[in-house]
């Protein structure tokens, strides 16, 4: 409704994976870039992530996975979001995700998949570009 309002982003960790340095790094970077960032904490279920995203009415969900279970867990998040009629929320993922899985994740609705070594500037400008378009 108001294109200039502060955008809200949920950064989440799904599944049995306690490696949260990357997620916290992104949380801090997004906060410093002027976003309101909600962090889920580690080892969350897709259900918890989607419920949080809907209740917090976020514009974007970014999910970090280093467990290897990305195909299953991310598919479940995308599915639940559709069930909640919240398909308008922009999805992206990051973590140790093999290149060969990326097309599949993109087909599920993940707009970007950032793998280790992705420069922060690339992540921030992708979000900026996307969110600037307005709601």
């Amino acid at each position: 409704m108001d294109g200039s309002r502060t955008k809200r982003i949920l950064i989440g960790k799904v599944g049995l994976d306690g490696h949260d340095r990357g997620a916290k790094f992104i949380v801090r970077a997004l906060r410093n870039a002027g976003y309101e960032v909600i962090y889920s904490g580690i080892r969350r279920t897709p259900e918890q992530i989607v419920r949080t995203a809907v209740d917090e009415d976020v514009d974007v969900i970014g999910l970090s996975l280093l467990s290897g279970a990305h195909n299953e867990l991310l598919a479940r998040v995308a599915e639940l979001l559709r069930e909640e009629d919240a398909g308008n929320i922009v999805l992206f993922a990051g973590g140790t995700i093999p290149d060969r899985d990326i097309p599949h994740l993109e087909s599920l609705g993940f707009k970007w998949v950032f793998t280790p070594g992705a420069p922060l500037s690339k992540i921030l400008s992708a979000l900026d570009e996307e969110l600037k378009e307005g709601v």
Partner: protein, 357 residues
């Protein structure tokens, strides 16, 4: 807007979440929605939780919600974290402590950023709390940002005010200085598993013992911890009903120890806050606070405009040359600011329906 309000009443979560985004923004529609919400709510007591950063406010709320759910209370929570004054961004992290309630349909948690407001709340907090009330959440819990000594905004909106402290806060001098304790209905000392907590509990206790007319009761959840003095205040008949009673409790939010006793205390305070006369005065105070805040904001904006007018340069010189006093000059500027406001909206003096009162 009627449709939105109806959908929220019927329990539609997305509508509730979206309405919260609306009231966290600006615009003419939003003002109308806020007015509508104010008219439609006010019956449910709000519980405010405040205290320094890191004392365990979110963890305590998480533990309370677990118990509230056991007795089937639909619980709504507003959790506020600070906006960065540099970037305008915020990390809303209170929710991390409450994730076990994330999939419970009868719990609704919303995180808000202060967006530059000082005092511990965000401007949207009251409106979001009203939205929760409209959606039949009862009680409504509001967690402030981590506050220091005098950020007591929550006291003007919450009907039951809980101040949470933890060991490491400082000595009793800090406690006496802090205005924070003056607004408390309940003071909770969290982290009672830590050795210094017993000392803090005693100090909080004696801080209240020093205030005439305030009765207090102190309880430790651990039977092994030596009992502190003051339980004789319990049956003090000389304390009139109008005197604010401050309860002091020790808890360990993480393990849940003492939280049941705290909930009993809060339920009792909640019951009192529902008594019709009390309900009305609490609600009046909240709405008056909103009117005051909004009026002050307009006045300050007008005053800033007046002060930025270049012709006032001459007045500053008069003041500096001793031709008038600061009081006179300030009075003049204040009057000008008020006149400006009146000129902008001459009908402002005629509030509809005022004559019929």
């Amino acid at each position: 807007m009627d449709e939105l309000v109806d959908q929220i009443r019927r329990g539609d979560r997305r509508s509730l979440a979206r309405a919260m985004t609306l009231v966290d923004g600006v615009g003419p529609d939003v003002t109308e929605l806020k007015d509508r919400l104010r008219q439609s709510t006010g019956d449910v007591p709000w519980w405010g939780f405040t205290g320094p950063p890191g004392v365990g406010k979110s963890t305590l709320i998480d533990a309370l919600v677990t118990l509230l759910r056991r007795s089937a209370h639909r619980t709504g929570i507003i959790a506020i974290d600070p906006t960065s004054p540099v970037s305008g961004g915020a990390l809303l992290g209170d929710r991390v402590r409450m994730m076990r309630h994330a999939v419970d349909r009868d719990v609704f948690i919303r995180s808000l950023a202060t967006r530059g407001r000082e005092g511990g709340l965000s401007d949207a907090a009251v409106h979001c709390a009203r939205l929760l009330e409209l959606a039949s959440y009862d009680p409504v819990l509001i967690e402030t940002v981590g506050v220091g000594q005098n950020e007591v905004d929550v006291a003007s909106v919450a009907d039951v005010c809980v101040v949470v402290l933890g060991p490491g806060y400082g000595d009793d001098i800090q406690l006496i200085k802090a205005g924070l304790l003056e607004v408390a209905d309940v003071v909770v000392v969290n982290k009672c598993d830590l050795p210094e907590a017993g000392r803090l509990l005693k100090e909080v206790h004696s801080a209240f013992a020093g205030i005439v007319g305030v009765a207090e009761a102190s309880r430790l959840p651990d039977p092994h911890t030596p009992d502190s003095a003051g339980s004789d205040a319990e049956g003090d008949e000389s304390v009139s009903a109008s005197v604010r009673r401050v309860e002091v409790l020790g808890v360990e939010a993480k393990s849940g120890r003492g939280v049941e006793e705290l909930l009993d205390t809060l339920m009792e305070a909640d019951r009192v806050a529902r008594e019709p006369a009390r309900r009305q005065s609490l609600h009046d105070r909240r709405v008056l606070g909103e009117i005051r805040r909004s009026a002050m904001k307009r006045f300050e904006e007008s005053l800033d405009r007046v002060l930025s007018n270049p012709t006032y340069r001459a007045h500053v010189d008069r003041l500096l040359h001793g031709e008038c006093s600061l009081d006179m000059m300030a009075g003049r500027f204040a009057a000008d600011a008020a006149t400006e406001l009146y000129r902008e909206s001459p009908d402002a003096g005629d509030v509809p329906g005022e004559d019929s009162a």
